[in-house]
Amino acid sequence: MEAAVGAKPRVGVVKLASCDGCQLTLLDLEEQLLPLTERFELIEFPEATSRRSTGPYDVLLVEGSVSTREQLEEIIHLRSQTRLLVTIGACANAGGIQALRNWADEPAWRAAVYPTPDYIESLATSTPVAEHVQVDAELRGCPIDPRQLLELLTALRIGRRPQLDGESVCLECKRRGNVCVLVAGGQPCLGPLTQTGCGAICPAYGRACYACFGPREQANVPSLHGWLGRELPQVQVDRLFAGFNAWSPPFRDPAARAVRRAHGRDGAGDDADA
């Protein structure tokens, strides 16, 4: 992350393959929106304005994964127009839920989903932006967290390193006083492997973390996988990793097993655990 950008930085918000939820987090900042527009020039943000721009950008927030040939060309072009490229959300950071197709028979899935699959031109894989161009910073989550987005923009203004901790969700759970849903509740919680930033929302409501913020630094997947596997069938444990961040390297092995098993790629037949 570089030091402070110019007086009124030119900011763009663009999307590739995604649901738009992360972009909407920016609109959800509500009372901060006007102050933000006074400090940043939003030159591209189709969700909010019909004003269009081709750049260049001081800061570009990129949502979505690279899922089509056009998107691949677009992201390479956008990178050339951008000083700081920030990926936002699990799709842009890790390929998203749609990356489950990376282990599947893509034409077969396309045919199953669309009535006229011939109209659809997509790549066989859904991949993170960082597999194609350099990424300067990432905001995790599905969707991203508004406080983290605000921190990123504030840090850009002030010139400090954004305070985006790499620690596990567990710390925030414990600071909040949540009772551990794994130890006390026996739920298969991925919080110990997952990067913080959400504020430990799910465990605060008694629900296990499903890693929508993706793996943290030092995510020891084999250890937790093995521990959960003492009480759950392996296929169920594998499936925990086949979510929004399935394609992120620490989650890939169990996610791949889950997808292949569900689709009989390993000869085990459909949903062997069902």
Partner: protein
């Protein structure tokens, strides 16, 4: 808490517990006690005894905790839950200060700590031990945490005896329980129909006399003894061999089990969060969009986090095994050196709440089992304890300033006189502090430089002159980069002087060998200034300076000046262009054929740790002993005063005990990977 003479125990029927709560409420106290919530016993506000977890009991095992309903009328029939009392004595988030910026002007307003009056109800023996450990850590050192002190002073302790123990409990082996013996105002032991009550302080006596309960019968008193004995008996076979454990553990820093446990450890930090004595914190900033108003907040951090030991340019504990070793050795070994007590109170929380059931008792037994008798323990190569760490004599090199720099906990303002480039990636920050106490900085000490909205940066003082501090800074991160944009007249915050610097006195009458690598010359320049101020009081003085390239050398004009002022200046660079006529290679080459044997020379060394390691080895070969070689260590520093925990190397807080150490003090830890 003033201890009173023990009074005859009394008996309070269970139905009258509310009278105790009423008295506490009348005393203006909020009562915090156990409640059953979300499947666990947690500590929260209690308004009446009806809220206590009647009939609940717990079942704990590594990585597992369950609450079970029973028909018992008892209110305290469980052991400890996930939360310790540190939640109330050292809360997860504490506002520290408001830092504001208005143009070039900055200000730092400390947050005011006005804790509620509390009463802790249901504090177990191990938890009292934990509070007493916290007292030593946060309130008994050279720097006391005022917020903690105020919270602790405002909390009354109403203890409850354990009459049963869980499978994860091991207070008996840590010597902290199960019997409550100290550190309480009142102590309750629950029987089937009520409580045997005793007072442990004058405040407790007053409460007890207001309650005016009947005396406990002999049978009731016997039930207390039996109950505690039952808890003790449960723990007979589930402890750790605590006797001699610190030395054994520090002997095993290279044990293969560290890597093996790291295969299981998630580095998720749960053990440190539930530990009632783990005290490490970090400071975060919440800023408005312009960085004009910045609230700083101190929050629980953990040595298992990736950023915990990170500095610009590297991480001192990158691997899980480094972090697990740091935690376990600190808790069970170096804590003794630092605070005269174990960091573990045997509550077993780290065992139950580890998501993958790692049991410290098993790890300790595998890594540091008791030595087999009668064979003598192998000769220990271990670092000396803090007892051996004596204050180094340090002279101020600006004689006009008082010898003893006063310690300053608050951030004061300093005005930028100039910012000037030094080399391609370093610059000089020239600061005039409002607080003249900062000018008492001695050679090798450092200051924390604070800009609103940024994390404070530790910077060594590279000269004190003309009422100002000179800091030589490498633009390594965002905060240091931001210094480069400061204009003359702008303000920053300063805190210090901090740490233990170069002991110039130790070099009086002796040869002085100063070895610097790169920007490592910055903290050594004040030592040179001090020596040159009284040049005739020292023997031969050598400066051996190594840098990456000729252009990376600091203080070029001064290198010549020193050479003319009676210092032998030897220089070497890693890479040179055609303009360089000097030596090419590593700094140790400048020392290779030297001989200080029998001369009692003193060496001051600063540079990257690898460079210092090689240098120390060369200096020792040349006849300078480990006690006369001083090195300045770099670690992640947040607080600068030994309470945030980031900068530890074995028993040392680098910020407080160092950054300057003798190589003998660091012993086996010097240059060791993952410390």
């Amino acid at each position: 808490m003033v201890t009173a003479a023990p009074q005859r125990p009394a008996f309070l029927p269970r139905g009258e517990l509310d009278r105790l709560l009423d008295l506490l409420h009348e005393d203006g106290r909020t009562v915090i006690g156990p409640i059953a919530r979300d499947g666990a016993i947690v500590y929260d506000e209690i308004r009446s005894a009806a809220e206590l977890p009647a009939g609940w009991t717990d079942e704990q095992a590594p990585g597992r905790y369950r609450l079970n309903r029973t028909d018992s009328p008892r209110l305290f029939n469980y052991t400890v839950g996930p939360q310790g009392w540190k939640r109330y004595t050292q809360p997860p988030r504490v506002p520290l200060a408001t830092a504001t910026r208005d143009g070039a002007t900055v200000s730092f307003e400390p947050a005011v700590s006005e804790p509620q009056r509390l009463a802790f109800l249901g504090v177990r023996a191990c938890e009292i031990a934990a509070l007493l450990v916290q007292d030593r850590v946060l309130a008994a050192g050279p720097f006391a945490d005022d917020d903690f002190r105020a919270r602790r002073a405002n909390a009354m302790v109403i203890a409850v005896q354990c009459t049963r123990a869980g499978s994860t409990c091991f207070c008996t082996s840590m010597g902290t329980g199960p019997e409550v013996t100290d550190g309480y105002d009142l102590v309750l032991t629950e029987l089937d129909d009520g409580f045997v009550v005793g007072a442990g302080s004058q405040a407790g006596e007053r409460l007890l006399s207001q309650l005016a309960p009947a005396a406990a019968s002999k049978a009731q008193q016997q039930a207390v003894t039996d109950g505690v004995a039952a808890a003790r008996a449960t723990m007979a076979d589930q402890g750790v061999a605590a006797e001699g454990l610190p030395a054994r553990l520090m002997d095993r820093l290279d044990h293969p089990r560290w890597a093996e446990v790291a295969d299981r450890c998630l580095a998720c930090a749960n053990c440190t969060m539930v530990c009632p004595t783990c005290f490490c914190t970090s400071v975060g900033n919440v800023s408005d969009l312009d960085g004009a108003t910045n609230q700083t907040e101190r929050r629980w951090d953990s040595c298992f986090n990736g950023d915990f030991a990170r500095v610009a340019g590297g991480n001192f504990r990158p691997r899980r095994q480094d972090r697990y070793r740091q935690w376990l050795t600190h808790k069970f070994a170096t804590w003794h050196d630092q605070f005269g007590t174990s960091g573990c109170v045997g509550c077993g929380r780290c065992i139950a709440w580890c998501p993958v059931g790692i049991d410290v008792r098993e790890e300790l037994a595998a890594i540091a089992p008791p030595y087999e008798e009668p064979a003598a323990p192998p000769p220990a190569i271990r670092p000396p304890s803090l007892d051996a760490l004596v204050p180094l004599p340090m002279v101020s090199y600006s004689p006009s300033v008082a010898q003893e720099p006063a310690f300053r906990a608050d951030t004061s303002v300093a005005t930028v006189r100039a910012v000037a480039g030094e080399t391609a990636d370093t610059f000089m920050l020239w600061l005039q502090p409002d607080d003249e106490g900062l000018l008492a900085a001695r050679p090798g000490q450092f200051v924390m430089v604070d800009q609103p909205g940024f994390s404070p940066v530790p910077i060594s003082v590279s000269r004190v002159a003309d009422g100002a501090l000179w800091l030589t800074v490498r633009a390594a991160g965002a905060a240091t980069q931001a210094f480069t944009t400061l204009q003359p007249g702008a303000q920053v915050g300063l805190r210090g002087p901090l740490g233990r610097g170069w002991p110039i006195d130790r070099a009086l009458g002796r040869d002085v060998v100063i070895v610097a690598g790169g920007i490592g010359l910055a903290p050594l320049r004040p030592a040179l200034d001090a020596v040159l101020a009284q040049r005739d009081r020292f023997g031969d003085v050598l400066l051996a300076y190594g840098a990456r390239t000729p252009a990376d050398r600091l203080y070029l004009p001064e290198l010549d000046a020193w050479a003319h002022a009676g210092v032998e200046v030897a220089q070497i660079v890693d890479r040179a262009g055609p303009e360089w006529l000097g030596q090419v290679g590593v700094v140790t080459q400048l020392l290779d054929r030297r001989d200080w044997k029998g001369r009692q020379a003193v060496a001051f060394v600063c540079g990257p740790e690898r460079m210092m390691q090689a240098t120390v080895s060369t200096l020792r070969t040349a006849g300078i002993t480990r006690r006369r070689i001083f090195v300045s260590m770099e670690r992640h520093m947040d607080c600068g005063v030994g309470i945030c925990g980031h900068c530890q190397i074995g028993p040392f807080f680098v910020c407080r005990d160092g950054p300057v150490f003798t190589v003998a003090e660091l012993g086996d830890l010097f240059g060791r990977e993952g410390m």
